[in-house]
Amino acid sequence: MADLGNAVRQDRTHNGAHEADGSIVRFVNVQKTYDAERLIVRNLNLDVMRGEFLTLLGPSGSGKTTTLMMLAGFEPATHGEIILNGRNINRLAPDKRGIGMVFQNYALFPHMSVAENLAFPLQVRSMPKAELERRVKSALDMVELSALGSRRPAQLSGGQQQRVAVARALVFEPQLVLMDEPLGALDKRLREQMQYEIKSLHDRLGVTIVYVTHDQSEALTMSNRVAVFNDGVIQQLSAPADLYEKPRTAFVADFIGENNSLSGSVNGVYDNQIVSVRLAGGEIVQAVSVDQLGPGHPVILSIRPERIVLNPRIKNASMPTLAATVEDLVYYGDHVRVRLSIDGQSTIVVKVANDGHETSIAKGDVQQIAWRAEDCRAFNPRQGGGDV
């Protein structure tokens, strides 16, 4: 592993730098159906950049795992091309692809010791014994399990099994490693620690990782880029910050992080893509127009709970205020979650930071709320899936 460790990637910014490295995997117009009736993956076009940590995120049944399985070679694509290192691998057997994989339940061979598990991919490659032992040892060192080489997987804790599974997927030094919800079986604390460990391995070794999860916080904290899947289509492929700050569809806004949804219609279009929107109750608010809609078109507004200002002290023209009635208060320690209703129709949740100032919010109060236009995004409700 020391050899790999030296090959630390030169630069990795969130955007842009990947083009220089080129793509390692390309999906070209890939489709997949199991029953010839429903497309699990619809017309997938995706480039995985060399050395990046790409996460496929989505609810179950969204096609993310199927995409991973097609890349690993366990499911054939029904249409389109999958290209690995410039070569079409549609018909290449999984064992010829040289892709490391970490499975959801680890899939450590129960009849082999930890060291034997790690040696397995090297044995099937007929590696000389001395080299093999050296590699197994350094792989064990890498995941800090040197003392447990002779144990059976069943004698390890969940976190240790997870580390062995990662080490086994890396021990034959693949350029590409796939991970299929590898942390799903761990408890929260361990999951966070493993997120950190996998991330730091990625930084050290410079391998390309394609990671599948339905846990958005995992996706945001670990990835260079995240592809949000829904209904067989990539809804958005962006860096984590963009995904949260600039969701491109209502689904993404809803799926990533907490979100308030309000429906209304376009009232007027300003320059700089800002629109004014008339809510169902008649109030006028401002938002960023994502889908470039004309006046009168219905829209869905999406705004994060922490971006709404309650009882704004400084009123100015760019922040129109709304009257809302406090329905409910929930104390969370570091913040208070206030649920308000606008005109008794739509509810909206506001996170108020518990910064030590006495808050005078009580149930039944009428409060003024406001947000910056750029924090609120207006989507076309009829557009189910945007393309990338």
């Binding site: 064992d95 499975f103 009849h111 991919p121 099937v124 997927a169």
Partner: protein, 414 residues
């Protein structure tokens, strides 16, 4: 918090309280199990135990012939016994004649030396005409009485506790004086039969494994609803009478049966030399394999069902081709199923009785058939018990060996 620390005395009290609390539970458990336990005890364990004691304990002869038993034990066995032994024999037989038990005595001796039955019955008929000295009188009645083998048989029969049944069961011969030798080759029956039983059991087990493994693998890979339907076909033999299935094989396999007729019709074999498929060991193996196959498939299936497909996928992704992945990753994990299935089939086939009796013919009968013969026909229960005990012992050894192996691998039966 210090209130909650339990002192040593308190612990003793706690222990007592706990056992009182658990007593009712234990009592209930015993009550629930008791009916079955009693049933098994009365109908299974007690008869088996009493039968097995017959293999080494046979007091009947000594009880029927007390005088003979008392005198013949001092005979050296080299020459003919003394006159007093002859006198004791005549005295015992006279009283046996009166009790009308001479027939069973004659039978018992006949099991030791063939032809002894008529010798003793003849003596019984002529008891009134015999006068001392008995030695000459008996010799005159039948010269076989001057044969030391006859007396040897009588001496062998006298001890209450005896190993002679076991010796016979493994084709050993004892002259009654610590001299144990192998039976002459043409008289060895049981050891070859034991060997044949083990050999046929091994063959049946192997064929069951070869036929059952792919089926179980296929079933385990199918979606559950299809697998459940197809499992019915595997279980179908269980729901048919053993006799029906066995006779069906007779119909299929006999000389004028379906298979031979088809082969002749197809020109594969001539009409004159139809294949001998039944009433021999081939027939036994075929019929037993058919009947025992589910016992192989079920444990294999249940184990294979628990092996997630991700293991094979993991092996493939790590660079193993299909064959290597199967052999190195899948196969070792089926080991508990293979072991359980083989053990089950082999043990069941060791005790197989009806099928070999019906389709076995001369070369296909097994040890259980000879045991049945000794129980029902020859009435040599001691020998039958000894043979059964040896069979039981071999099964127990097998089971023990399996458990030893299983422990090493951390596997459990089933």
């Amino acid at each position: 918090m210090s209130d909650h620390v339990v002192s040593v005395e308190d612990k003793a009290v706690l222990k007592k309280q706990l056992s009182t609390a658990l007593r009712l539970q234990k009592f209930r458990a015993v009550l629930l199990v008791a009916p079955l336990l009693l049933f098994v005890l009365i109908t299974f364990l007690v008869p088996i135990a009493s039968m097995l004691t017959r293999s080494f304990y046979s007091p009947d002869f000594a009880r029927e012939m007390p005088a003979t038993a008392a005198t013949i034990s001092s005979w050296s066995g080299t020459d003919l016994p003394d006159e007093n032994v002859y006198a004791a024999l005549v005295q015992d037989l006279t009283s046996a004649q009166a009790r009308k038990t001479i027939g069973s005595i004659a039978n018992a001796v006949n099991m030791e030396v063939s032809g002894a039955r008529s010798l003793i019955m003849k003596l019984g008929r002529n008891l009134d005409d015999i006068d001392p000295p008995y030695k000459q009188a008996l010799d005159k009645l039948d010269p076989k009485w001057s044969n030391s083998e006859t007396w040897q048989a009588l001496q062998n029969l006298t001890p209450e506790y005896t190993g002679r049944f076991y010796l016979t069961a493994v084709d050993l011969l004892s002259d009654g004086h610590a001299e144990i030798s192998l039976q002459p080759e043409d008289r060895r029956i049981y050891a070859p039969l034991f060997l044949r039983t083990f050999a046929i059991g091994a063959i049946v087990t192997l064929i069951c494994l070869l036929l059952g493994f792919p089926v179980a693998y296929w079933l385990s890979a199918l979606p559950l609803r299809y697998a459940n339907v197809l499992m019915i076909f595997v279980l179908l033999p269980f729901w048919t009478s053993l006799l029906v299935r066995t006779t069906a094989w007779i119909v299929l396999l006999q000389n004028q049966g379906v298979i031979n007729s088809l082969l002749v019709w197809a020109g594969a074999v001539g009409d004159g030399n139809r294949l001998p498929l039944i009433f021999n060991s081939v027939g036994t193996v075929i019929a037993m394999t058919h009947i025992l196959l589910p016992f192989m498939i079920l444990p294999l299936y249940s184990v294979m069902k628990t092996i997630p497909p991700s293991y094979l996928r993991a092996a493939r992704s790590l660079g193993a081709n299909q064959l290597t992945a199967f052999v190195r990753v899948y196969l070792p994990q089926t080991k508990p199923g293979v072991a359980a299935g083989c053990l089950l089939v082999f043990i069941l086939s060791l005790g197989y009785y009806i099928t070999p009796a019906l389709v076995g013919g001369e070369s296909g009968t097994l040890i259980s058939n000879i045991i049945a013969h000794h129980v029902q026909k020859s009435l040599n229960w001691g020998l039958a018990a000894a043979l059964s005990a040896l069979l039981l012992l071999s099964v127990l050894i097998l089971y023990w060996a399996y458990n030893r192996l299983a422990k090493v691998d951390g596997l459990k039966l089933g």
